[in-house]
C-alpha cells in the first residue's frame, strides 16, 4: 500500500518534473487510484513506482491516464439533457454563433451527446463545441468518434429518456464491435489540451459543461476553477455540473441562478465577475 506521505512525494515529482499539478486534488480518490495502479502493475515497492514515474515517459502517460478518471457515458442523467433541450437550447438559438465549452471532456461521450442535441434543434451549423482535457490521448480518441458498440444500447435508452425521438443508431455506423459517429457532428468540435489547474480562460461561451470533473478537486481548487468558468461565461450564459455537484458554497454563486432541480445555473445579466487577480482577461477568439 502506498501511504499518504508517499502520495505527496509522487505528486511533487509530477509537478517538478512534468508540470502536472495534482496537489490540489481530493486525496482519497487519488490515493485509491495510485494504489490500484500499484497493485495492477505489480510494483514490488514504492521506490520502484517512483523511479518508473520519474524516468519512463511512456509509463508516465499511463500513470496520468489511470490516476485521473476517464469513465464517462452518453446522455448520462437523461433529465439533465432534457433540460438542456427544453430550457437552454431555445435561448442559445437566439445567438448568431453558439460557443460551448466541455471542460474535462475525457473521451468525448458528452460532447457527442451535445452535438446530437444541437443537430436535432437545427443549431449544429452555427455552433462550435470546444472540448478540452489535460490528457492528449483521450482527446485523440474523442476526435476519432469511435466508441464500443456494447455501450450503444445503454446510450440509446438514455437518449430516449432525454427526449430524443430519432433512431439513435442513425447517428453512427456500426462496424465489428465499434460505432463510428457521423462526421457532421465531429466537424463542429474543436479538441485541445487545457489544464483547469494551470491554464487560463481562452474564450467566452454561452454554455460551459463540466460534469463530474471537479469532484476530484479539493475545495480551494474547485473555487479557483469556478472563477475561471465565471470569467469565461457571457452574461445570461449557462453552467452545467454533475448531479451531485453544487455552486452553492463557491464565491461566484452570487452571480448565478439555478434552473429548477437540475444542476444547471444561469448567469445573471449584471454579474460581478472579478477579472483582476492573477488571471488575465479572456482572449476572445472569433
Amino acid at each position: 500500500m502506498v501511504k499518504d506521505v508517499e502520495v505527496d512525494i509522487l505528486l511533487n515529482d509530477l509537478l517538478e518534473r512534468y508540470g502536472y499539478d495534482f496537489t490540489d486534488y481530493a486525496k482519497a480518490s487519488l490515493k485509491r487510484r495510485i494504489n490500484r495502479l500499484f497493485t495492477l502493475d505489480k510494483f514490488p515497492s514504492f521506490a520502484e513506482l517512483r523511479y518508473r514515474v520519474k524516468n519512463d515517459e511512456t509509463y508516465l502517460k499511463r500513470f496520468v491516464e489511470e490516476i485521473t478518471v476517464n469513465v464517462t457515458e452518453m446522455f448520462r442523467d437523461p433529465s439533465f439533457y432534457k433540460m438542456l433541450r427544453t430550457e437552454v437550447l431555445p435561448v442559445l438559438a437566439t445567438y448568431p454563433l453558439i460557443r460551448i465549452w466541455h471542460a474535462g471532456c475525457s473521451t468525448g461521450e458528452e460532447v457527442y451527446s451535445m452535438g446530437i442535441l444541437l443537430k436535432e434543434a437545427n443549431l449544429l451549423q452555427k455552433s462550435l463545441l470546444y472540448a478540452t482535457d489535460l490528457n492528449p490521448d483521450v482527446l485523440e480518441r474523442a476526435r476519432r468518434g469511435i466508441f464500443p458498440m456494447v455501450n450503444m444500447k445503454q446510450y440509446s435508452e438514455n437518449y430516449i429518456l432525454s427526449g430524443g425521438t430519432q433512431d439513435f443508431s442513425s447517428y453512427y455506423t456500426a462496424k465489428y464491435d465499434r460505432a463510428k459517429f457521423n462526421t457532421d457532428l465531429t466537424k463542429k468540435m474543436i479538441y485541445a489540451t487545457h489544464n483547469l489547474v494551470s491554464d487560463r480562460s481562452f474564450n467566452e461561451f454561452q454554455l460551459i459543461l463540466c460534469r463530474n470533473v471537479m469532484i476530484y478537486f479539493d475545495k480551494d481548487l474547485q473555487d479557483k476553477v469556478l472563477t475561471l468558468f465565471d470569467q469565461s461565461i457571457e452574461p445570461l450564459g449557462f453552467l452545467g455540473l454533475g448531479s451531485k455537484e453544487t455552486l452553492r458554497f463557491s464565491s461566484v454563486s452570487v452571480n448565478y441562478v439555478q434552473l429548477s432541480k437540475e444542476k444547471i445555473w444561469r448567469k445573471k445579466a449584471h454579474a460581478n465577475t472579478n477579472c483582476s487577480s492573477s488571471v488575465a482577461p479572456p482572449v476572445v477568439l472569433k
Partner: protein, 169 residues
Amino acid sequence: MILQVLPSVPKNFSLAIVIVLHRRGGESVLTELLTEKTVLPVKEVEEKDEILSGNVYIAPADYHLLIENDRTFSLDYSEKVNYSRPSIDVSFESAAEVYGNKLIGMLLSGANADGTEGLKRIKELGGLVVVQNPSEASVSYMPQQALDDVQVDYVFDTNGIKHFFQKLK
C-alpha cells in the same frame, strides 16, 4: 433489514451512520423511505459534505463514496468495483484509513462478494467488524463471504443488531 434496524437507533446518537447500498440509478425514494424510519436526519450525500455525528448518510447511486482526512465526503465516478458503484469495499477501505479504530463496519444481506476486502482493511486498522447472520439474511452470499474470509467480531441477527445500536448510543 436497514428499515427494521434504523428505528431503534436512539436520538442523539454519537456516531455518524453511512449507508452504502447496491441499487439502480435515478432519483431514489430511498432517502424519504429512511427518513420516515428514524428520528435522525437522513441525507443523500453531495460531494464535500461534512460528516457530522448523529446523522445518517446515504451513498448516491452510481458514484463511489470516499472519505477524506478532513472528514468530508468525496465522490468518485471511476470503474465499478465488484460490478458495483457504489462499491462497499471502496467506502469501507476509505473510511478505515481515516477513522482507524473508531470505525465499525457492518455488512448485511447482499448478492456478491463486495464488502469482504473492505472489512479486512477495517480489521487491520483496528476497527470493529459486524456481520449479519447469513442464515437470517434475505440474500446470504455477501455476509457468508465475509465470514469465510474475515476475522469478524460479532455475528448478529436483526435483534442483535438493534441491541448493539442501543448499547452504542
